[in-house]
């Protein structure tokens, strides 16, 4: 900063000019970056939509209800029924397992564990959120699948009557949607835990102490002050995890024995997910087949978008809410 004397009028004018120029350049650079980002995004969305429309116009089957995926056949037939089912079922299994456990861990870290354990453990969980999915896939295929073998046949034996846990053919390796669900649960656990923990940490201490002062046990305190305050945070954390579970590609492709079957027998191999299907098929796909894959990618994109949007809305609402509290 050159110091300017009030009397030095011409200098001040010059400086204002250069600074205005600088401002202009900088503003335009920043705005340009924003616009570029918009353009990229619009290009992706437009391109996906365009190619999907091309593919859908020639589809001989029903895009929503067809099971097969044969876009490069002489009579192109492809549909997302199996993929949508598999994607949603595996993600739901993952959520059913991961969310309660994640809440448990978050409570453990924030309210139960001795501090000496809690801090490093929280760190560890954060680090695990960064383990690449291919490593989870490798571990899933070579470690988890063999170790789940006993459990699944046991579930078949004792819970087979539920239909869902019935194995139609004994002795199949559990490379199933159920296993995928468990693997996804393990993958999203660190993410959900990290966010939930942060939310629990923000619970106003006065609320907790008030509950304790009224003679509440620790659980009653958590139930009356921590959980109600944290509920929106838990939901949005779960949504974030769900978003990742829906889009997971490689880990699913490595573990799942895919097949164009739609079956509620979760312990039977078969099914597929959007992302896994793209990863498996894009290599052999012709240009039309790629368009079809893009159509499925677009559907996945839209689903993920809705989930993420819901999470954002919940978070936004919570912000106003806690703002009033603070």
């Amino acid at each position: 900063m050159t110091s300017s004397h009030p009397a030095d009028a011409p200098g001040r004018v010059r400086r204002r000019k250069t600074s205005q120029l600088g401002d202009k350049i900088f503003f335009n650079a920043a705005r340009g970056a924003g616009i570029l980002l918009l353009v990229i995004m619009a290009a992706i969305a437009g391109f996906l939509a365009y190619r999907s429309a091309l593919a859908l116009s020639k589809n001989q089957g029903n895009f929503l209800t067809t099971f097969e995926w044969a876009p490069d056949a002489p009579k192109p037939v492809f549909g997302i029924a199996v993929l949508a089912f598999g994607t949603i079922v595996s993600a739901v299994i993952a959520m059913v397992i991961a969310v309660p456990v994640a809440i448990g861990i978050a409570l453990f870290i924030s309210h139960y564990a001795p501090r000496k354990i809690a801090q490093p453990f929280a760190y560890l969980v954060d680090l695990l959120a960064a383990v690449p999915s291919i490593v989870y896939g490798l571990w899933g295929a070579l470690f988890l699948v063999p170790h789940l073998d006993g459990l699944t046949s046991w579930m078949d034996q004792y819970l087979g009557w539920t239909y869902v846990f019935d194995q139609t053919r004994a002795g199949t390796t559990p490379r199933t949607l159920f296993t995928v669900g468990i693997l996804l649960a393990i993958m999203v656990l660190p993410i959900i835990t990290a966010v939930t923990r942060e939310v629990f940490r923000q619970v106003p201490r006065m609320h907790e102490e008030a509950a304790l002062a009224l003679g509440a046990t620790r659980w009653e305190m958590i139930r009356t002050s921590v959980l109600p305050f944290g509920r929106p945070g838990i939901i949005s954390a779960s949504m974030l995890g769900l978003g990742r579970a829906l889009g997971e590609t490689i880990a699913v492709a490595v573990v799942l024995s895919s097949n164009s079957v739609l079956s509620l027998h979760l312990l039977d191999p078969g099914g597929g997910t959007f992302a896994q299907n793209i990863a498996l098929k894009f290599n052999e796909a012709g240009s039309f087949g790629r368009d079809a894959l893009m159509a499925s990618g677009l559907v996945l994109f839209v689903i993920t978008l809705l989930v993420n949007g819901a999470a954002r809305m919940i978070v936004a609402r919570r912000k106003e809410y806690s703002g009033a509290n603070a």
Binding site: A73, G171, T173, N259, L280
Partner: protein
Amino acid sequence: MKLQRNGRSKALVVGAMALVSSLSLAACGSDDNTGGAGAAGTSAPAAAAIACGKAGALVAAGSTAQGNAIDVWKTNFGNACAGSSVNYSGGGSGAGVQQFTQGKVQFAGSDSALKPAEVDATKAVCTGGQGINLPLVAGLISIVFNVDGVDKLTLDGATTAKIFDSQITKWNDPAIAALNPGVNLPAADIQAFHRSDDSGTTDNLTKYFAKASGGAWSYPSSKTWAGKGGQSASGSAGLAAQVKQVKNSISYVELSFAQTNSLKSAAINTGASKPVEATADNAATTFAKAKIAGTGSDLALTLDYATKEEGSYPLVLVTYEIVCDKGNKADTLETLKSFLTYAASDGGQQAIGSTGYVPLPKELASKVQAVIPTLA
């Protein structure tokens, strides 16, 4: 809330240091694997026979079925010809052909010959010429199985088709028992594995079913698996690994994958007096009878899946290397020719023969050898 402003440059320094230290790694790597324990020892005799052209880097893609063959060839070729390399990505036949017609690769490996439409598409890349099929890797699809107590298994077209279509679900099914008198078949469920990705191997298998299953396979032949039920895995290697791990399983892979994973292969009852074992010799008999369907320098073959000849294994496949007859990329043409010459030579064919492929019959090999020098 207050933010402190001091020490900001330190943060940058740490970040930059992490970047620099990781990039400084760039100075100490080596492509030379010949000294270590991992060197391919089998290459010594073959290496002498390789005539290296101008050094260059070939990029190729395609069939996974010939993956093991290309693996051997590129290793020997790379070791013999310093400076030359072959980069083969086994993404599948379809991917290979596509990348070839887009001019991304110098040659493609495909389990099926170019279709007329595809030949037209290649004309855009091959200036003044078109894509041709050179049969270079002959192989056979073996029906591999893993059943305790069963060392030898005989199947026929119809039974195999039914097994893979979940019409036969038990190993002691009468249909299997009838083909295997005296074999103690367990009462276990059959775990049939098929390819989850689209594949030329599936295409060849279903072509065989179409001819030899007597109608038991009701689907048209295609690269995409159409059968009912069963489990899946991606890639021939994936199938082989599953069969190795899972009891009472059955699947179909190229013989070299069966051999490298020491899996047992079923013999096929073709209607000849004796079931035909899945061996290279028996497949060679089938290849000797194959007719050349292509014209000019195109050497596409017609295979007889329904053969009933003695000692002629019906379930064969041939992988073509697809190149331009004219208009190959000038800077890599020399390298391409020397690589293909090596691959088609006796040395090259013998080298892959030992890993479970079928060396081309002399007559066919000499035709291929005659075409390669004419590439331009």
